[in-house]
């Protein structure tokens, strides 16, 4: 197994985290979270991949045909669906925040310090 997917995944995770740390806009921050999340499926797919294997669709192939691991693909699907829920929720909270506080900058809402 090559190290490249893991390096890319690590890079995406940290770039996303950098975005979250420095973000001045909740919408921007939410998208940075999805970049972090994409690191999980890069890792998952790389783990399940076999050289020269076909997609795990078992209709009409012989039993000896090598396929990639279908489990990780199921995990990735779950992962994608879950992340959409989180994004939708965060964006709706952001919109509410804008109606109440007239800003979407995390640094301008200082209600909870101390």
């Amino acid at each position: 197994m090559s190290y490249l997917p893991f390096a890319i995944a690590g890079w995406l995770f940290f770039v996303g985290l950098y975005g979250v740390v420095t973000s001045r806009n909740y919408i921007h921050l939410t998208v940075c979270l999805t970049v972090m999340q994409s690191s999980t499926y890069v890792v998952l797919l790389a783990i399940g991949y076999r050289n020269g294997a076909t997609a795990p669709i078992f209709a009409g192939i012989s039993r000896s045909t090598k396929t990639v691991d279908p489990v990780v693909q199921a995990l990735t699907l779950t992962d994608i669906v879950v992340s959409v829920v989180v994004v939708a929720l965060l964006l709706s909270l952001t919109m509410d925040m804008f109606t109440r506080a007239k800003t979407v900058d995390p640094d301008e809402v200082r209600e909870l310090s101390g």
Binding site: V85, V86, L93, T94, P106
Partner: protein, 610 residues
């Protein structure tokens, strides 16, 4: 018996769907009655499972996909008494929360019940599952429903910010957990915890295993609110509506810690067996730091909900010490502590909500002396008993649990942890007792420069008018019931010995794997009757006396002319100021802390575990 296992999760989820579909048609009281009944059912089911799993785990393979040739193919729920006990606690807290919301919200949409029941199903599933990816899914499910519930009845930017901080930090945690699970799967080809543990056992610990361990531990520590990942917790719990807060403070954080114990013992312990000292040192160190930081911060709050949030953080640190000692007595103590303390914190959260309704604020300073009337005697007693319980009053629940953890610490060579854990209970107990004294006895000054007050927020969405007498009883009843559970858990005969026995079974990785994959029962660990040591009583007395003394000192220092000179006071104020200044409420700072904490974990374990 095994058919009961999926029901514990399925019943609340199906009921949630039903209420979402038909709730609009039925009056609100029917929704509430149904939801309460479902929560009570979950409690009963989990309690039955708790009893049934006393000597062997109750294992349910979905759709009958049992292991073939000791290889797990399907997805399993493996129920041990500790997991079942946590599910039962979740059910009990949810029941109390529903009974409370009967008199609390004037009018709640049926979606509130839907989300609460999804939350309950996720909590139960998280406690019972034996599969790593299942763990992740329930982690996300409980997180998402909790974010939505925290922002429920949104009325101020503070609430929204708390919910957003909660959502962002916990989502980062969830991604770490997902990455950790992916790495475990990549190495072992298994998602079943027993199977993954078998594959890792006896193998060399390399970078990939360490990375997986760090990612999973940090991910769950974010959920558990350990320092330095705790910042979101004080924001979110301080703004959550009362019935939701009961669940958050009473069970959700502690489930994060349970997951660490679960994953460590079932998956990694076979590989890291030669380096247990490094795991123990780091977990106990983080636990102690969390316990003390949380304790000091709870003493610096004037908002009661936020105060309780820091109590949750602090006591979570104590649980982490118990789990991190990697000893049966420590785990037994932590598990009992979670139940006793969870019920107590839930009761206190409800008591605070009642104070908001009847006295008009959740701010300690604003409530100064407002409870000084015979009418509020019951509420005041509730506050005081919660405070004493949090200070580990002998011989009740928290005292027994704390003693077990301290005995484990002494026998593991971590004797220095005992006074530190006691200091944490002194601080948290004193915080609650000080608030009690100020509100119900009118002691102490009205202004307190040391306390960080929250901005004045009118508590919208909560009933303002004084309720009728009948409703008042409904409001207090669940809190009293939780208090009885929390304090009385230690009085069940032989509970300590049983807990230690079950904890030893929990920590037997090979036995667990044999049971799950091959159906072979491991021999039962011996049942040793628990006897309190003299030191346990001594530290218990120190904790209670210290709490009362510290609370009295803080309230009466003006009268005693202590700290009255500016210079001496500055000695306390400056470090306190530094500590509070770190809690900025800005999500960017929190994410940076997460990054720093994760880096520290990687360095320590990367060096020591090889």
């Amino acid at each position: 018996m095994t058919t009961l296992v999926p029901l514990t999760v399925a019943v609340p989820l199906v009921a949630a769907a039903a209420i979402a579909a038909f709730g609009r048609l039925s009056p609100a009281w029917i929704d509430n009655l149904a939801a309460t009944a479902v929560a009570a059912t979950v409690t009963v089911l989990a309690t039955i499972l708790l009893v049934a799993s006393a000597h062997q785990d109750t294992i349910h393979w979905f759709s009958g996909w049992t292991p073939r040739h000791s290889v797990a193919i399907g997805i399993a729920f493996t129920v041990d008494p500790i997991g079942a006990g946590l599910a039962a606690l979740a059910g009990a807290l949810m029941t109390a929360a529903f009974i409370f919301s009967w008199g609390y919200f004037e009018e709640v949409a049926h979606l509130y019940y839907t989300m609460m029941l999804i939350f309950l199903g996720a909590l139960a599933g998280f406690a019972l599952t034996g599969d790593l990816f299942n763990l992740f899914v329930f982690f996300e499910l409980m997180s998402v429903s909790a974010y939505a519930l925290t922002g429920y009845r949104i009325s101020q930017p503070g609430v929204l910010q708390g919910a957003i901080n909660f959502a962002v930090t916990n989502t980062i945690g969830a991604y770490m957990v997902a990455l950790g699970i992916a790495l475990v799967y990549g190495r072992t080809g298994a998602l079943n915890m027993a199977q993954a543990g078998e594959a890792l056992a006896g193998k060399r610990v390399d970078g990939l295993v360490i990375a997986a361990l760090v990612l999973l531990t940090v991910g769950f520590l974010i959920k558990a609110g350990a320092v330095p990942f705790h910042f979101w917790l004080s924001d979110a719990y301080a703004v959550a509506p009362a019935p939701v807060g009961v669940l958050l403070t009473g069970i959700m954080s502690d489930l994060g810690l349970h997951a660490i114990a679960r994953v460590y013992w079932d998956v990694f312990s076979g590989a890291t067996v030669g380096h247990a000292g490094a795991v123990r040192g780091l977990l106990v160190g983080v636990g102690l730091l969390t316990a003390l930081v949380g304790g000091v911060m709870s003493l610096l709050q004037s908002d009661l909900k936020r105060l309780l949030a820091f109590v949750t953080i602090s006591h979570g640190g104590i649980f982490l010490v118990g789990i991190g000692l990697l000893e049966a007595r420590g785990l037994a103590g932590a598990s009992l502590y979670v139940v006793a303390d969870g019920a107590l914190k839930g009761a206190f959260f409800l008591a605070v909500a009642v104070a908001v309704i009847r006295l008009g604020s959740s701010d300690e300073l604003r409530l100064h002396g407002r409870g000084k009337h015979r009418r509020y005697l019951g509420l005041g007693l509730l506050f005081a008993v919660c405070g004493l319980g949090l200070a580990a009053l002998p011989p009740f629940g928290p005292f027994l649990s704390k003693s077990l953890i301290e005995e484990a610490a002494r026998s593991a060579g971590y004797g220095f942890a005992v006074p530190l854990v006691t200091l944490a209970t002194v601080l948290t107990g004193a915080a609650v007792l000080r608030a009690t004294g100020r509100i119900f006895l009118g002691l102490g000054p009205r202004r307190e420069p040391l306390l960080s007050a929250q901005p004045d927020e009118p508590e919208k969405g909560e009933p303002e008018a004084e309720k009728s007498r009948r409703t008042r009883i409904v409001l207090l009843l669940p809190a009293v019931a939780l208090l009885v559970i929390g304090l009385g858990v230690s009085l069940a005969p032989g509970i300590a010995a049983l807990a230690v026995q079950e904890a030893a079974r929990f920590q037997d990785r090979a036995g667990y794997a044999n049971e799950v994959l091959r159906g072979q029962l491991p021999p039962l660990p011996p049942l040793v009757p628990h006897v309190y040591a003299a030191a346990d009583w001594a530290w218990g007395a120190v904790s209670v006396a210290g709490s009362l003394g510290l609370a009295a000192l803080l309230l009466l220092r003006g009268r005693l002319r202590l700290f009255s000179r500016r210079g001496r006071f500055g000695l306390v104020r400056r470090p306190a100021g530094v500590l509070t200044a770190w809690h900025t409420g800005a999500i960017g700072d929190y994410a940076a802390w997460i990054c720093a904490g994760a880096a520290a974990f990687s360095v320590v374990w990367g060096v020591l575990l090889r």
